[in-house]
Symmetry: C2
Subunit: 227 residues, 2 copies
């Protein structure tokens, strides 16, 4: 009895919805107006039952014997994810990573325009990154307030990351995406997601090493960890 919306959606499902959305958009662009859970599952590389269950949290939008109408489903997924309007983001730290993020067009096109990027280094303040200017951290409050920003990105060095987070919270940001390899301490009202690229490599090398070293008594169990 999945109701249209308002229901609590499992975290694992929330993490997959953006992927479905991307695939559905590609499908629509290809001129296909209807898709089955089987086809969508193939594209996403997951189980078809999982796709159906995931989508059932949004509501009953499929048609038995037919599948899902792509355009309508896109609308529903977007609505559920809160993508019926833009979510401007502010980036703290205009170093290697901050510059790459600011220069990336994929964020704007997906609904996350960069409302501003700030740095503490006076030498960087005032420089242009594409069409946006690096501003001072002191202006964070202004940027957040005037741009209705609720998402902040921490791209400073690890040592400064907590300081950056504190300033974002003080400025009124309520969600933070953290690229620094540290655990941020924030009020419980603020959501933090952390992306640690070095960790990704470490996970890969673990499986890599495991493959190279098939020792020991028991049968080497092949762990097909592909995605």
């Amino acid at each position: 009895m999945a109701m249209s919306s308002g229901r609590r959606i499992p975290e694992a499902t929330v993490a997959r919805l953006p992927e479905y959305l991307r695939l559905l958009t590609e499908t629509l662009d290809a001129g296909i107006s209807n898709v089955s859970s089987d086809e969508l599952a193939d594209m996403a590389g997951v189980n078809a039952a999982k796709v159906r269950k995931d989508l059932s949290y949004l509501g009953t939008y499929g048609v038995r014997g037919v599948g899902y109408e792509v355009e309508y489903l896109i609308y529903q997924v977007r609505r559920e994810l809160g993508l019926d309007h833009d979510w401007p983001v502010v980036i703290v730290g205009a170093g290697n990573l901050g510059q790459a993020l600011a220069g990336y067009g994929g964020f704007r096109s997906r609904g996350y325009p960069v409302a501003g990027i700030v740095d503490i280094d006076p030498a960087k303040v005032g420089t242009m990154l594409g069409d946006i200017e690096v501003r001072s951290v002191d202006e964070l409050g202004d940027i957040v307030a005037s741009g209705a920003v609720s998402i902040g990105v921490v791209a400073t060095s690890a040592i400064s990351a907590q300081d950056a987070a504190d300033k974002l919270v003080a400025a009124g940001v309520t969600s933070i995406l953290n690229f620094a390899p540290v655990l941020l301490n924030v009020p419980p009202t603020v959501t933090v997601r952390k992306v640690d690229l070095a960790v990704e490599l470490q996970i890969l090398s673990y499986y890599e090493q495991r493959r190279a070293e098939p020792p020991a008594s028991h049968h080497a169990r092949r762990s097909g960890t592909a995605s």
Copy 2:
């Protein structure tokens, strides 16, 4: 009955080990030689029992009533993750992201030196990124072979990502970290991990929207297809 090593470690645990390792290294740098599961759990922001269970997969390295010897534990975690030697990586795509990755010192210091970065754009080949030169994709095989590279990073545009992956696989790479928002098709012998930064933002905005819209029942069933 935790066996010393070589046995299968749950994926969730593998994903946390790098984080423990980082915290342990910081702890050692701070001159602390012994740590309890409680302290480590606090630092990592997780449950103490989880820390103990995670570490127990490596072997029995703790001392009851005392805790874990930091230096020895670091050694064991590093060994388990395959970090007793470097894992050179090769980056495909010297755009915004590729340049940021190549210029990031944190990879080398964590045991992932950049063996090379390649691009298909002749205008980029030959340019220097810090102390490494952008080389042609044609040299991928050479770089992989001469540098004993087993990990590749895909940082090309989405359209070219599959091509980049194919070339990496052909060159002999067996693990791929993919930043392009597409599902890569690779042989089952190759492990792929995908990092999609836009997805992270989408997850954040989902919870953000959910917070702003506390009431449950509201949803006109608008037909996206209403013509």
